[in-house]
């Protein structure tokens, strides 16, 4: 049942590092994170990795396995052949702190820039009434475990540090879409700010984000594309455009 696998793990801190070779035991049913833990316990006690739930629920253990963004705890060793060398590296879009741990503060800063849920005045807690069909659309996006792999994979920022200030990334496009679809959210112009302030316009719908999402959220089809379409609608309909502007100024 068990065998020895060959691993290359990126190790380093303070901006420097290299791939280190390991040979390590693998048992039936194990996932990549188990192997990283075995390395810690037996060969490299200071090997840095984030994890919490070990069941795909917390989004801590994002890493790149053979170049693909994956959750270490949900990547079964049985998906590799026994003689394959498995390369594990940190997420590329974020600065490395040490080994597999990256500085993801970009994401927390972007989260703060999205205006919060804004309910109408006068609805008291306990008085909310919503139908399942109406909450279901938003619920899809609230499945997000904030693994930040969609932001990691998106080419707009993956090798383009310069785009980071203007671009919030797919994680926050679905956050805006979720609020936009919330039956009780009354904040104005969610879609327009997605375009204007969060860089939706940079996205050219490559769908890479949807492909990596471990929660199978249809980021592009259900959030980005509908928002883009409606932004286009409002943008190019001269009456609506005029209406918006006039309304805003006279406020």
């Amino acid at each position: 049942m068990s065998y020895k696998a060959k691993f290359k793990v990126w190790r380093g801190e303070g901006g420097e590092g290299k791939l280190e070779d390991f040979t390590i035991e693998v048992n039936e049913g194990e996932v990549v994170l188990d192997i990283i833990h075995r390395l810690q316990a037996t060969q490299a006690p200071d090997l840095a990795v984030r994890w919490n739930c070990k069941a795909g629920k917390c989004g801590s253990c994002s890493m790149e396995i053979n170049g693909k963004p994956r959750l270490g705890c949900m990547t079964r060793m049985s998906t590799f052949s026994e003689d394959e060398t498995i390369t594990v590296t940190p997420m590329r879009t974020f600065p490395v702190i040490k080994d597999l741990v990256t500085d993801v503060s970009y994401n927390y800063e972007k989260a703060r820039e999205v205006p919060s849920f804004t309910p109408p005045e006068g609805v008291r807690p306990g008085e909310y009434r919503m139908q399942q069909v109406d909450v279901q659309r938003g619920q899809e996006f609230r499945k997000c475990i904030e693994c930040f792999m969609c932001n990691n994979v998106c080419h707009v920022i993956r090798d383009h540090e310069e785009n980071k200030p203007a671009f919030s990334g797919p994680r926050f496009f679905i956050r805006i879409a979720e609020l936009d679809m919330h039956p009780y959210d009354v904040a104005p112009d969610r879609k327009e700010t997605a375009q204007g302030e969060h860089g939706l316009g940079y996205c050219n719908i490559t769908k890479c984000c949807t492909e990596v999402c471990p929660e199978h959220i249809k980021i592009t089809d259900n959030a980005i594309i509908p928002m883009k379409e409606r932004v286009v609608d409002t943008k190019y309909d001269p009456l609506v455009w005029l209406g918006n502007k006039i309304f805003k100024r006279s406020k």
Binding site: A48, C58, R112, F117, R142, K143, H182
Partner: protein
């Protein structure tokens, strides 16, 4: 090196449900608040909760109300609960859940548009507000986003997001500081850099969660090293009820690497049944006397209950967790287990595949990805896993205050609310109710404080020396010491206990204490898990000693404490609380304390027959006197 220093009114240690709700309250009351947590913001253990938050809103069955919830909670805890906490919890949980909705949470709905509620073990009516089987994620994200909303408000008024509430993530507190008998702050390190940090603050709210990482088979994450329990002990507070640990009946058993990972109770709440290797629904054989008239006696009746609760009794799969866990343990021991050492939990023959995927999406995903099992087509194999500690810091029910002035606690780290056994769903609501109360308690304490306590440099230097020590010596591998502790607790102070085994565990723990003093951490200070574990070991060993000592003293079986050599509950033990404390910081002493008697109007909510199963003769005489007047 100069130590980084921050001044706050309140520091909340822990960013799970309890910590975030406490911090929100403290900030809403105008206090400058720091949230400190070991993981990234939004990753605390609460994120893993699946089934739901219990609150008697009466949305699905309008007969539900706080009194029914109160009774269920006391019954589930076998009447050892702090009744005042159980009362506050039952009364306030609905408001706390509704408040989340006003902060943007999207719960599943009933047909008339209200928050839907699901059945769970020990709850008389459908009571758990939920979002599929990822309720904890919704809860933590909503609170996280509420914190962000408050920061946005502060940005508007003060031009600084962090003017009144700041999150210090991946930062571990290793010591609380005191000025005389009062709290004056906390000392810790940044995981990322290994640098030390000092918080100067007159009030500390502990919301650090549980202790499961002292066991091998557990549903808990690496964060659950009992830090808050140990920090409180070391600061002079008491822990109560430490012998009561909840072994959740259904953890995964295969593959070995996922052993212990939780299978939510919603599987049973939504119709899943337990069978042994002979295909028998064995739970019908394990209904204890105290619950006999509340549970179905035939499969037909149990099945009818799902659609007609007024005229049928619930199936015994929905007994409180301690009962189900012991039953599974007994079936496996009797040789009627599944091939991989558990029993079968089947929902595939009970619900259509589409319905299973809709109601239990993350279970479906978890089994498919991790065990190659399709739960819509075949049964799961499950067995008990260390899940939750009922014991914790002894607090004042109304304010969350511990015995040390300035110290507050809420959530899993506090004790009393759940008595000897927690009902599923009662933790998430506990976090919200008592998180808010602890935040308010801390704010009120500050308002009444005559002078700000001072940080004592001697304590800071000692804390620093203690934290640096493992880096400075070449010693034993901390992972090995940890594994031995886990094995010891699992095997000797597990689900079924006996005096000899627990005594043996205590001997091992004594030896481990010495080894912990000598572990070394190779590598640098930067994000070094070996070093972090070396420091966590002090806490795990201290807390394990509390569990084992209390387990040895309590000569009865009740809830999450089962003594092979003392089967059955003993009413005189219901009146006793075992309070752990430490004088010297390394060894634990236990004192017996009296459990306060229930208020007259609350005890009158129960039937005489039921109470007579739990109370002593003198207590019953007192009850009769109350009933007469």
């Amino acid at each position: 090196m100069e130590i980084e220093r921050h001044e706050y009114d309140v520091i909340v240690i822990g960013a799970g449900g309890a910590g975030l709700r406490a911090a929100i309250e403290a900030r809403q009351q105008g206090k400058r608040t720091a949230i400190v947590c070991k993981s990234l913001f939004g990753k605390a253990h609460t994120v893993m909760a699946e089934g739901g938050a219990a609150a008697a809103m009466g949305n699905v069955n309008s007969d539900d109300n706080w009194m029914v919830h109160f009774r269920d909670t006391m019954r589930g805890g076998k009447f050892l609960n702090n009744w005042r906490m159980a009362e506050l919890h039952a009364k306030e949980a609905p408001d706390r859940v509704w408040e989340l909705e006003a902060w943007g949470a999207l719960f599943d709905r009933t047909k008339d548009g209200k928050i839907s509620q699901r059945n769970f073990g020990g709850h008389e009516y459908p009571r758990l507000a939920h979002v599929g089987d990822r309720t904890g994620l919704e809860l933590i994200r909503t609170l996280q986003q509420r914190v962000v909303a408050l920061q946005q408000e502060d940005y508007e008024t003060h031009g600084d997001y962090e003017a009144y509430i700041k999150v210090f993530q991946e930062c571990t507190i290793t010591r609380l500081l005191k000025d005389g008998d009062r709290i004056s702050g906390g000392f810790g390190y940044w995981r990322e850099s290994g640098n030390f940090v000092l918080f100067d603050a007159p009030a500390v709210v502990l919301a650090t969660g549980g202790i499961g990482k002292s066991y091998v088979v557990t549903s808990n994450s690496w964060e659950y090293t009992g830090d808050g329990h140990a920090l409180a002990l070391l600061a002079g507070a008491n822990l109560i009820n430490m012998e009561f640990i909840q072994f959740h009946p259904t953890g995964m058993v295969w593959p070995p690497s996922v052993r212990g990972i939780l299978v939510t109770e919603s599987v049973r709440g939504d119709g899943g049944v337990l069978r042994n290797s002979e295909g028998e629904r064995f739970m019908f054989n394990y209904v204890p006397d105290v619950f006999k008239d509340k549970y179905a006696t035939s499969e037909e009746e149990g099945d009818r209950w799902y659609t007609d609760q007024a005229n049928n009794r619930r199936p015994p799969e929905l007994l409180p967790r301690d009962e189900v866990a012991r039953a599974i343990n007994a079936e496996v021991k009797a040789g009627r287990g599944s091939p991989q050492g558990g029993v079968y939990l089947d929902v595939s023959t009970r619900l259509p595949a589409e319905e299973i995927k809709r109601r239990l999406p993350s279970m479906h995903h978890q089994f498919k990805e991790l065990a190659d099992v399709d739960i819509t087509a075949e049964p799961m194999q499950v067995g008990p896993t260390c899940h939750y500690i009922m014991g914790g810091i002894e607090v004042d029910a109304d304010s969350g205050a511990a015995s040390v002035p300035g110290l507050f606690a809420a959530g899993e780290v506090s004790g009393g609310m759940h008595g000897s056994n927690r009902l599923g769903g009662n933790s998430l609501s506990d976090l919200l109710v008592f998180g808010r109360r602890a935040g308010a308690g801390a704010a009120a304490y500050l308002d009444g404080l005559p002078a700000r306590p001072k940080v004592d440099q001697v304590q800071v230097d000692a804390a620093r020396a203690e934290a640096e020590a493992p880096l400075q010596r070449a010693g034993e591998n901390p992972y090995e010491v940890h594994q031995e502790l886990q094995r010891t607790m699992n095997e000797l102070v597990g689900i079924i206990r006996k005096a000899e085994e627990v005594s043996e565990a205590l001997e091992v723990v004594e030896k481990l204490k010495e080894r912990v003093q000598l572990v070394g951490a190779a590598g640098t200070r930067i994000y070094n898990p070996g070093w972090h574990l070396a420091l966590d070991l002090r806490n795990m060993v201290l807390v394990s000693e509390c569990v084992a000592r209390a387990a040895l003293l309590r000569q009865e079986s009740r809830g999450g404490h089962t003594r092979d050599d003392f089967p059955g509950m003993r009413p005189e033990w219901r009146q006793k609380l075992l309070a752990c404390s430490t004088e010297d910081g390394t060894s634990i002493t236990i004192e017996e304390k009296a459990q306060p008697a229930m208020r007259d109007d609350l005890i009158s909510l129960f039937d005489r027959d039921e109470l007579s199963k739990y109370l002593t003769d003198e207590e019953m005489a007192e009850f009769d006197r109350i009933a007469k007047s």
